[in-house]
Amino acid sequence: MTTGDAALTQLRRGALEHCVLALLQSGERYGYDLVTELSEAGLLASEGTLYPLLSRLRRDELVSTSWQESPSGPPRRYYALTDAGRASLDTFRHAWTQFAGSVDQLLQKGTP
């Protein structure tokens, strides 16, 4: 693994939790649906690791869960953003914007 790959892994790990919260802003989603979207966005190295993360978000009360019937197959566990989750997302969005701006500036400085 190059240092660039390692940095990307660390960034992905740090940002993933808030990307999940961001996906839930527009409404509740079920686990497989979240996995598919995050995987397509290149944010999940191992799809299964999202479930322990969802479980932790629920224990931290950043998301709430409910079971709903599925049009095809068994009931699905849906995840929804809580007020605490929304506040955490707002804080992260602010911090991320500053962080990304600072990194961008430094990267630009280095180019000839």
Binding site: Y32, S46, G48, P52, S55
Partner: protein, 207 residues
Amino acid sequence: MTTHTDLHPLAQDYVARLYDAARTLPPDQAVELVSDISDHLREAIPAGTDEAGVRTVLDRLGTPQELVTAAGGGAAAPAAVAPAAADGLGAVEVIALVCLLGSEFLFFLFPFSVPFWIAGVVLLLVSRVWSAGQKVLGAAGLATGFLVGMSALFVSPPPESSICVSGGECTVTQSTWPDSVFLAIRVALVAYLLFQAWTLWRLTRRR
């Protein structure tokens, strides 16, 4: 949550391995993880998916151990192997062997051999490296050494005896056992020493 017997056999096998790896998690988290992954597999593998498709889904999930690690669990120790066995012998085991062998070879020096033998037996039993089977072997093969040495002090040949025949002539028999008994004792002693060497090898070799 539903049972996972409706899953593809490969997916069932994956869930079984996950269930096994999740033993290091708190029970409620383990149940939740297995349930979530079973539901995911049910969504991701519709009926009629070929084996290549199933394998692709499983590869993308990550290994069961990766998921358990992501959930905060450690690697499960295989049940049959003592946890520290791979690291070789620790101080407790080395001292136990030195005490047991020392008490055997210097059994006649009681102030030395008796406390060493007791210490050796205790350390043998409390070791966290040796398995229960190895402890039984150590007790049979090494802890008996001191006792075998002691027995040499108390077992002696039959006393001298004299046989007198009619006519007043007496023959004094030597204070010894017949050759056959001596041979049997020597064979038993060699066999016992070989057993001790084998025991020592079993207790000290790395797995």
